[in-house]
Symmetry: C2
Subunit: 343 residues, 2 copies
DNA sequence: AGAAAAGTTTTTCGCGCGTAAATTTTTGGA
DNA sequence: TCCAAAAATTTACGCGCGAAAAACTTTTCT
């Protein structure tokens, strides 16, 4: 290992005795050069430890290996987990993922999309903010860059959508809860940021009507992404004002449920199915921590694996198809009911 | 708004009637061009909506505004939260942050550092994997790129370290627990990935010796980043084998504590200070979720604000100092004891 | 063996922009 | 009004690399 620093491909070409474009070909595909040439390059590589500048590489490339992954709020463990899986699979598929979080802010989401244009990505996996997204900006971005939406759908935007079937989530929890007890009330935020929340409420209403039961939708106040605190405050208010209309509460998502469980514990309401339990609580998402709540949370689980696999697969197909699909596809995955102690 | 797409600065210069380098100056600092020129550019900007390619900009820039932020495991809410704060402050300070997660893997950490060299960052904020880091690679990276370490210190590596004072964390929890009850035992992983864990154990031992009390360190098995599950399994084994040596458990970190609380609930051990409580549990970090555990978790809180502020400030100073400090500095922030229901 | 075909390497140019040096324009003072 | 200094703009070149076209080798087949 020599200690002379190689600053660029030109210098490395000089010390290895081969022209720069051949070196470039080697890094693009080591098998594309003659074995004898390859050996010379690799011998030089052992001595000088040079690696091409990845951004200069992409500057003039026809098709990069870059993939952008955008989530609305990375400090939400649900998105952290899905982002982790997507990144891993991207790398396995030979792509170079770059992760972005909009931190719940529209201007940041717009900035991210701008940055992504500069990155010249082969494709983008985008989970938009939802209600807070700047639709025009997202639309114009998707028109220029091959994009697969996930988690939150925006009708007609992007080449494809991969997500979860909210009706499957809610129908399974409602069915289970009614089968094993009283009909549930539905606990949600008044103005949810995520469009899935609206679909879940509609699914709840439809299921209740189908079963001939009276629905109770409880909307609590609160803005932003601090769902646990919003759920806790909302639940405290309700508990202190006489309690829920039924003794079974179905939460729109696990983070709200975590707050609700916390409030129940604080006020001494025991949650679960056993003797002496005042309330049963179920929810949706299978948040990474829902297994560790007290009691552990009964919930409808996303098929994280399938969603991540399908998103990457769809993106791969999209890229191989040249960035456009004949027609926009929507793939939804059913939920898996996870029975735990809370209901 | 015209619909002719401007592809680069050259084309924008043509339609605005000004030379490209002047346009370049404008985007670098709008005040650096004559007001009349600026007005002409901005008028053209309204018509043609062009934005420079950020990666081409950095290609030949002397000093970029890029900042790399690297964390060991982004799906850990502690790191998600600190990363969120760092990103926000970077943007406020006029930098362009890019976030990376090593996902707990050494090879990914190494790859990230390689990518970061290509990004030509003005500086990097690096929270290394710790025990799993490839010290040589990190060292060589820090020698080439101005780097501030945070969270996990690696002696002598990087220009500065910003983190929390583990002794302050442990001394406060131990002092509080002994003052209000029996001496605590210490609950930790057998082979912690993070060096802070070792410092916390040593602090516990020192504090117990200082107080003339017998220490009990309980080491549980488990590898990886699924701390909650590791804590839960370890606690279940201990509870089923007769319980903890004392009725006060001090956990090395909140994620282990979350697992322990879950195990206690499962086995019917009531945690807290009140009547009928079998155990008191305290911990360290003030994990975003620790407020919502059942019972809510007494813990020593990081000063997230101060750490994030100081890290960005130090990085700023480092960049303004040309990338090197006279001598390496280490800044540690004291903990703030947060009394909640678990102890 | 000789020429065409196939495979490699090199030449040349371009990506989108920054920057130092050269040129032009503006400003300010006599 | 004129000229030098200051400010603004333009010229010319470079960053690190990809890609098409040209030049050169090696293989293949008659």
């Amino acid at each position: 290992m020599s200690d002379t620093k190689i600053r660029n491909m030109e210098e490395f070409a000089a010390v290895s005795g081969i022209s720069r474009p051949t070196i470039s070909k080697y890094f693009h595909d080591p098998d594309s050069v003659r074995p004898s040439t390859r050996e010379r390059i690799e011998r030089a590589l052992e001595t000088y430890d040079y690696r091409p500048n990845i951004f200069a590489m992409n500057q003039n490339r026809k098709l990069t290996k870059n993939v952008g992954i955008v989530v609305p709020y990375l400090a939400d463990p649900f998105f952290a987990e899905i982002a982790r899986q997507l990144e891993q699979r991207c790398i396995e598929a030979g792509f170079r993922p770059t992760l972005f979080s909009a931190h719940g802010q529209q201007d940041l989401e717009n900035d991210i999309l701008d940055s992504l244009r500069s990155l010249k990505p082969a494709g983008v996996l985008l989970a938009p903010l939802g209600r807070a997204s700047d639709r025009k900006t997202v639309e114009s971005f998707c028109a220029d860059v091959p994009t697969v939406l996930f988690d939150s759908n925006i009708e007609g935007v992007g080449e494809a959508f991969v997500g979860s079937d909210n009706f499957s989530f809610v129908s399974q929890t409602v069915e289970y809860l009614t089968r094993t007890g009283d009909p549930p009330c539905f606990f949600e935020m008044m103005t949810p940021a995520n469009p899935n929340a609206n679909k879940r409420r509609l699914a709840y209403l439809e299921m209740m009507e189908r079963l001939g039961l009276e629905p109770h939708v409880i909307k609590i106040e609160g803005e932003g992404w601090a769902f646990e605190e919003i759920g806790r405050q909302g639940a405290l208010r309700i508990l202190d004002a006489g309690g829920f209309p039924t003794n079974i509460v179905l939460c729109s998502n696990d983070r709200l449920a975590i707050g609700l469980l916390s409030a129940c514990y604080e006020r001494g309401f025991r949650v679960g199915r056993g003797e002496g339990c005042a309330l049963r609580v179920a929810s949706h998402d299978d948040h990474p921590f829902s297994r560790f709540t007290c009691p552990s949370l009964t919930t409808a689980a996303h098929d994280y694996d399938a969603v991540a696999n399908c998103a990457i697969g769809t993106l791969n197909d999209l890229i191989e198809a040249g960035g456009r699909f004949q027609k926009r596809t929507e793939t939804l995955f059913a939920a898996r009911l996870v029975l735990r102690a809370s209901a």
